[in-house]
Structure formats: C-alpha cells, structure tokens
Amino acid sequence: MKVLVTVKEVAEVADDFEIAGTEVDERYLEYDLNEWDDYAVEEAVQLKEDGPADEVVTVTIGPERAEETIRMALAKGADRAVRVWDDALEDVDMLDVETKTNLLAAVVEEEDPDLILTGVQSGDDALGATGVSLADQLGFQWGAVVNALDFDADAGVASVHRELEGGVEELTDIEIPAVLTIQTGINEPRYASLRGIRQAQSKEIAAKTLGDIGLDAGAVESDLTLTSMYEPESESDATIFEGDAGETAGQLAEVLREKGVAE
C-alpha cells in the first residue's frame, strides 16, 4: 500500500509583530512544519513500520524555501517528496480550497496512492477543508478529524475514531482508497534522529510546475481575496496586577482568598 501525506510549511507569527498591507511583515514570521501534518507524517510512518504501507510519499504546495521543512518529514521516515510550485502561484495571496484540491488531485493521479493523510487544518490560514474536498474530487472515501486509526490491511478498511465536540468520538469504518484528516494527539510525533536527518539529504524531492502535472494557470485562480488584515481589538477589561513576581503573586493570592477557593 502506498500512503501519500500532504504536508505544508506554515508561518508562525511572533508575539509582537507588524502588519504590512494584507500580510504579516516577513521579519516576524518563522517557518515550520504544520503541527497537524507532523501527526499525519508520524501516522504514515507508523503504518510503514507496522507493515501495511510499503511507501510513504509527501506532497507539498510551496516555494523552494519549503524544502527545509520537507526534509524534516523525510528525516522522520517518509521515503520521498513531491513539491508543486509555479510562477503562477507566486501572486496568489490566498490559495483557496479549490486550487489546492486541483493541484493535489493532479499529483494523486500520478502517484496513485491507496491512502492519503492530511492534517485537519493548517496553523496559518486554517481553512480545514482541503482533505475532504480532495477526497470528493478523487471519488475517494473520507473521514475528517481522525484521532485514532486502526488499519486492517487484508480488508482494506481503516477503522477510525472521529473526534467530535464535547468528549464524544464517532467510530467509523472507512474503505480505501480514502483520505483521512488527522487530528493532533493521535500519536506522539518522533523527533528526527541524526541518522534520519543524514538519510533525508539523499532522499528525492521532486519539484513540479503546473505544466509538469498537466495543469495550466486557470487551475489556480483563487476565489478568495484577502482585502485587509488587522490585529483584533483587545476586548480586555481584566485587572492586570502590576509589580514583580512576588508582588503580583501576592495580589493573585488575595483574590483567591477573597473568592473563597484557597486559604
């Protein structure tokens, strides 16, 4: 079985930052592997270690800079990577779900995986929709927000828990080919070993343009346009205790005594 994992390099914003136009100023951004994708990669690598998967391929939509992040996924055990990028994508300020679906579906057609794992959402634009949209486009089965996965290789069925709200999980059996969107906490993502990092250097990252995957610029016209970005107004009317750690702790202790919860 071949497992495809979608991974995204996401920007994280520093506590203090500035906005330039409709973007956070580049100086305040740090790039990292999307947290949810880290769990998806781990789940895929475990499927390989446990037997059902023969190969784990990652696919990323992102510029060359993203290769550093892709290497992290390779160092954790993915076998090889595909990275899609094109000049036509440079000017799109917010890739919509349809665009990502088109790009990923084109890669899926080339790779022909049996199981696709995506993160539930990305930490930056948090649309939370690509996995399910992709499944529908491909005619695959799907399950969103999966926090437990038990794969029966003989039957080709993924028995999953879907994490609903309020401490309730839905138990669902899903036939492959399927897309599962992976929730944090499903496993404990490993740290890349030194050996893994060394091996990752020689693993393939295949860069593909739109033309390489059989698409043209029309496939990436986004329907979402970011027209403004701003810091939400603080609605805080909290009483902030002033002073050093000892003084603030003293005031806090007073409040706890006043409310009658601690003596």
């Binding site: 914003v13 506590d15 203090d16 956070v24 779900v97 349809e98 679906t101 539930v120 930490g123 930056d124 948090a126 649309l127 939370g128 929709a129 996995g131 949209s133 529908d136 799907w142 399950g143 969103a144 927000v145 028995s159 879907r162 994490e163 609903l164 709200e165 401490g167 309730v168 999980e169 138990l171 059996d173 899903i174 969107t181 944090t184 906490g185 404990e188 329907d223 979402l224 346009t225 027209t227 403004s228 970005m229 701003y230 810091e231 939400p232 603080s234 805080s236 909290a238 902030i240 000892g246 603030t248 702790a249 806090l252 202790a253 409040v255 706890l256 409310k259 919860v261 601690a262 003596e263």
Partner: protein, 316 residues
C-alpha cells in the same frame, strides 16, 4: 437567486446549539441579499427538529428524513439536491467537526467557493467574510468570489435565534445513494476516570507555556498548596502529559468553576469554549496580547516560572 440556505446539526437525538446560530447568521445575510432563509434539517427525528427550529426569521424548513445519525454521504447528497432546487446565493453551514466532514465536499461538488470558520459576514452585492489567521493573532477580511458561495460559521459567534417562527415546513424527497464505503459503527465517550473536572470549584489549568513535562511538578505543587483541581489545554493532553479527562475545551470538558486560573494558556477559541462560563478567570501569560486576557477578569503578564513559585509560597 438571493436566498440563503442554512444547514442545521444534531447528534444523538438533540439539536446542537449551532443550529440556532446558523439561523441568526443566515437571517442577517438574507436580509442583506433580500432573499428568503431556508433551513435544511437532515436525518434523525426531522419533524420534531423542524418544530424546534421554527424560530423568528425562518421562511422555509426542508426536512430530509433519510438516516438517523450524521452521515456525510447523506448530507452531501441532500444539500446538493436542495441547492439544485432552491438555487440559493449562499449556503451557510456550521464550522463543527461534522460540518468540516461535509461542507468541503458540498463546495467541491457544486463548484462553490468555500470560506470556512467565518466569525463575521457582510454582504454588499458580494460576500465578504471575517476570519482569523495565525491562531487568532490577526483578523482578515476575505472577499469570496463567484455568483454563489458556501460558508461555514464558527460556533457561538452569532446569538441563537429566538421566538416562534412562521416557517413553511415541508418534506424534501431526495434519492440518496446509500452504497457508501464508510459506516458509522458507534460512539464512545472519552475522558472518564478518576476525576470529573466539570465538578471542580477551583481549577488550575496549564497550557503550552509549561514547555516540558517535568515542569508539571511545579503546577502540581501549586495544586496541592491551594487544594485546586488540575486541568489543561489541548497540547498538554496531545503530548500525553495528562490524561484526556483533564482537558478543557471544545473537544474536552466544559467547566464552570468559581475560579479558573489559566497558566501559560494563550486562549485559543477551542479552549475558551470550555471555560468561558467560569465565574472568575485569572490568566498568567508572558504575552500581553494573548487572547486569554480578552476574557480574563484578572491577569498577570509575566513568566509562570517566576510567578508560580511565589504563589506557592503564599499558601505554604
């Protein structure tokens, strides 16, 4: 084509709160587009649900009786058929776990632009949604193109619709293809065990700010000194540092203590959903812009590794 179709949600025989919120969001939007508000009620006891949902502002309620519990194949096909019948300008769906299990497929199948997790919507000849990015650090205005759109709305952002409505309720027949490759086999309650944090009067809750598992001992010392109940935000449970029954938030427990002391918790919306009902919220966080301070009654902007030892000292 100026109508709005809002999709409701239920689980195990009960309508979920967001069902009443999509009515409010949908009504506001329909007032702006100049159209009618249609509700879709899919699966389960649709007649009873439809009566409950007939609140002020609803014009039409369409019930699709196929199935009992949520199934994304039924939802996608029902909404697809309703969309063809009603030709609405906007479909409004909940940004819930189940909403995210069908809304992207609906959008893909109907070729609709999709904006998820909206916290605001404005219509002025075209649709603009307000949504957050970078874990609530910024808000954005996003124009959603196309003639027709799909939106999912965040829970608890719009007030629940009230009053008694005068909607026309009718059954909508859809030929649902049930030959699906996914089968719901049951439900499981998680987070049971030795303690029920939802009963606690004083909760000390810890988040990502604790950095390392061994640092939890510091918080345990505080819990012991103050006779509090220990809880946490999601990342601590994801890391396996505390069991699931300690998790406060949308996917964990909802708590309503007299005092909720949030230490090193930024206050993501999913966490806030589980603790905003506390009588008093106190936050300790190094980031003065952390959203937790928006709902806090008292706060310390400071390093928990300096503040917590001093606090323990106060009760020793």
């Amino acid at each position: 084509m100026s109508d709005v179709l809002a999709v409701t949600e239920h689980r195990r025989g009960e309508l979920r709160d967001v069902s009443y919120e999509v009515i409010t969001a949908g009504r506001e939007l329909a007032d702006a587009t100049g159209g009618d508000l249609h509700l879709a009620v899919i699966s389960g006891d649709t007649e009873r649900f439809a009566e409950d949902l007939d609140r002020e502002g609803v014009d039409y309620i369409h019930t699709v009786s196929d199935g009992e519990e949520f199934n994304h194949d039924v939802y996608v096909q029902a909404i697809e058929a309703l969309h063809a019948e009603l030709d609405p300008e906007v479909v409004v769906m909940p940004n819930s776990v189940n909403g995210l299990d069908y809304a992207p497929a609906v959008a893909n199948r109907l070729d609709l632009p999709l904006a998820t997790d909206a916290v605001g919507m404005e219509y002025d000849g075209g649709l603009t949604v307000t949504r957050e990015m970078y874990g609530s650090k910024v808000e954005t205005a996003v124009e959603v193109g196309g003639d027709q759109q799909a939106v999912t709305v965040r829970g608890a952002e719009w007030p629940a619709a009230e009053g008694v409505g005068d909607a026309e309720i009718s059954a909508f027949d859809v030929d649902i293809d049930t030959d699906a490759g996914s089968t719901v086999t049951g439900f499981e309650e998680v987070g049971g065990g030795d303690v029920d944090i939802s009963e606690a009067d004083f909760i000390v809750s810890i988040g990502r700010g604790i950095e390392e598992e061994e640092n939890l001992d510091l918080i345990r010392d505080l819990v012991e000194a103050t006779d509090a109940t220990l809880a946490s935000s999601r990342p601590i449970v994801d890391n396996g540092w505390l069991p699931k029954n300690r998790q406060v938030g949308q996917s964990g427990k909802v708590v309503t203590p007299t005092v909720y002391l949030a230490i090193g918790i930024s206050g993501a919306v999913q966490h806030v959903a589980g603790m905003k009902g506390a009588d008093n919220i106190i936050a300790v966080n190094t980031d003065p812009n952390a959203p937790i301070f928006d709902i806090a009654d008292y706060g310390i902007v400071g390093d928990l590794f300096e503040v917590v030892p001093e606090l323990i000292e106060q009760f020793s």
